[in-house]
């Protein structure tokens, strides 16, 4: 660390921080990113605790049941955010909806990142023929109009398999192209380094080189990308659910709740039904984006903050 011929030589040199530690410090000092993280943690916690919290939130804890006696009640002390057109408590549904929206977003992101990293790293590492084939295939996937194919595929498959998993798979299969391209370009640059040559020359298998040497070095890029994709996946889920092509109507999700705004009468006169999911959704997306930006900043060795 310190130069060897100074007086401090005898003292044990202070251990330098690992790149991850530096990144963590930078991230912790980023106020906007930290506020966003806290917000996301709260939203996630409340969403996943929904079944336990529901009895305390309102007298109508069951989100699946239609309550004819209590339809369209404006917010009051009993129903903090009011009830919707089927007499279900908006706040309770908001919590349950978060669970589905976050879960779909997270699973789809996991799938996109796994597929993209797999294709990208293999194409980048092996190059040549393999690269050509895989990248043409990636171009092919990227050339589909995403929303159109998600809707068509979802329509075909919806009746055969359970709705939520179909949605995750369809979204995942259609959107890994961007990640694959990104990972490939990073791997291409990274594999020119001597340590890769060294690892290969002592007989490491290509798989091991990718896993142990290349992936850790492109990990920071992947993590940042994953955060941003997570946000866009939540948007995709809610947009599809809003249009009626996402998760089944019986399952509460933020998009499904928002779809009641399709009726002019609800949109105009009963904002308490659609505004809470709209606001929570927007704040969640905004927070995830801030976290992504914070991570990007924290993991960039060139940024000094």
């Amino acid at each position: 660390m310190a130069s060897s011929n100074t007086i401090t030589q005898q003292q044990k040199p202070e251990r330098s921080l690992s790149p991850w530690q530096i990144a963590r410090r930078k991230f912790l000092r980023n106020k906007l990113a930290m506020i966003s993280t806290v917000f996301i943690i709260i939203v996630t916690a409340l969403s996943f605790a929904a079944p336990f919290l529901a009895p305390f939130l309102s007298p109508l804890p069951d989100v699946a049941r239609v309550n004819i006696g209590s339809m369209n009640i404006p917010p009051n002390s009993e129903h903090i955010l009011g009830t919707d057109k089927s007499g279900r408590d908006v706040l309770t549904r908001l919590f349950y909806g978060g669970r589905i929206s976050l879960l779909v977003g997270f699973s789809a992101t996991l799938m996109v990142i796994t597929l993209g990293t797999l294709v990208g790293s293999i194409a980048g590492f092996f190059g040549g023929f393999v690269d050509n084939i895989l990248m043409r295939f990636t171009d092919f996937v990227l050339n589909f109009p995403f929303l159109v194919f998600v809707i068509v595929l979802n329509t075909i498959l919806r009746d055969t398999i359970d709705g939520v998993s179909v949605l995750i798979i369809v979204i995942g299969v259609l959107s890994w192209g961007g990640v694959a391209r990104l990972v490939r370009s990073k791997v291409l640059a990274e594999k020119e380094n001597e340590y890769v040559l060294a690892a290969l020359s002592i007989g490491c298998s290509p798989l091991k080189v990718i896993r142990k040497h290349l992936l850790p070095n492109v990990m920071s890029t992947i993590i940042v990308q994953a955060t941003l994709i997570f946000a866009s996946m939540i948007v995709v889920e809610s947009a599809l659910s809003y249009l009626g092509f996402g998760v089944p109507q019986s399952v509460p999700s933020w998009g499904n709740m928002l779809s009641s705004a399709n009726e002019p009468d609800v949109l105009q006169g009963k904002p308490w039904i659609w505004m809470p999911p709209a606001l929570v959704l927007t704040c969640t997306i905004l927070s995830i984006n801030f976290i992504g930006e914070g991570l990007k900043d924290a993991m960039n060795p060139k940024s000094l903050r």
Partner: protein, 321 residues
């Protein structure tokens, strides 16, 4: 440049064929007669169906069916819509002008907003105004377009009554009169604003960063040394250089507009091809659905091609790849 364009065009052909095969496969996976729409879905007589299937060639081997379908498709034979009982081609052609109008309006709005904000931010970076613009852009990027649309209808159409909340034209005005065109413009403004705001943020930030970068270059210093007014340096010398890379965004906007149009048109009940697409899914009008899927895929491909070609024009190094 010609060689590069031809190479790009030729590279598109296998992509077109592959996409058409995928669409054909999807159509075959759909229940019933999803390609021609000739079989009446209400007639369940098995003899009738068998006869029609034979007549339409559905018992031929799949490659033959594919070939017949694609030759028809290229010639504009998209089958018959089961909902409208008319050729799909006519139904689509009827709606295209609306979508085109919406797309062009939203592009104009994007350019106007982005240029105003980007030029201000680029000229006065790291000031209060620049930060405010960056903040607005951040929020515009984060808000999902359908949420923005819902809020826009709530505030501008219902509460302020500035715009109509749906449709493409007033029913009462006479077609072709000046009032008619004004009414159409009035109807398209709000959806176009929502659609246009989506891509404004990336344009603005790009323009800002490019202007800042260019303002440090030698030609700017020379212009300053000669005594050119700052305003002229920014509005003429720098802007000319910064517009060029911005042009390449146009192709990608194409693809984004298609996805955006499906959502915005549906929310604003604006009768374009995006709404027709969702409508055809809902009423199970499969011939229309498949034709639109094919058409929208082509448009996306064309958009990507345009982006590629524009890149080639802007950055000559790419052509030599």
């Amino acid at each position: 440049m010609l060689k590069y364009s031809i190479r790009r065009l030729l590279g598109m052909i296998p992509m077109l064929i592959l996409i058409s095969i995928v669409v054909f496969t999807l159509a075959k996976l759909m229940p019933g007669d999803s390609l021609s729409g000739e079989i009446d879905p209400n007639n369940t007589n098995p003899e009738y169906i068998a006869e029609m299937r034979e007549k339409l060639g559905y018992n031929d081997p799949l490659p033959v069916q594919y070939f017949n379908w694609i030759t028809g498709f290229v010639q504009g034979d998209f089958g018959k819509s089961t909902k409208y009982k008319r050729p799909v081609f006519d139904v689509i052609m009827e709606k295209i002008p609306n979508t085109l109008f919406l797309g062009i309006m939203s592009l104009i709005i994007t350019y106007i907003l982005a240029f105003m904000m980007g030029m201000y931010s680029g000229r006065k970076p790291y000031t209060l105004g620049d930060n405010a613009i960056a903040g607005i852009n951040y929020i515009m990027l984060a808000i999902p377009s359908f949420v923005a649309a819902v809020f826009a209808i709530y505030f501008f159409a219902f509460n302020l009554n500035w715009f109509p909340f749906g449709g493409s034209v007033d029913i009462l005005v006479e077609t072709g009169s000046a009032e008619y065109y004004l009414s159409r413009l009035h109807h398209v403004l709000l959806p176009a604003l929502v659609l246009g705001a989506m891509s404004t943020a990336s344009y603005t930030q790009f323009l800002r960063n490019d202007i800042i970068e260019n303002s440090r270059k030698d030609f700017v210093r020379t212009a300053r040394a000669k005594g050119t007014p700052i305003k002229k340096i920014y509005n003429v010398h720098i802007l000319r250089n910064s517009i060029i890379p911005l042009v390449t965004f146009l192709g990608f906007d194409f693809a984004a507009l298609i996805g955006g149009a499906i959502i915005t048109e549906t929310i604003f009940t604006y009768p374009g091809i995006g709404m027709l697409f969702l409508d055809s899914v809902n009423v199970r009008d499969y011939p229309t659905l498949m034709a639109l899927t094919m058409l929208l895929s082509f448009l996306t491909l064309a958009g990507n091609l345009i982006a590629d070609l524009l890149y080639g024009i802007v950055d000559p190094r790419i052509r030599l790849e």
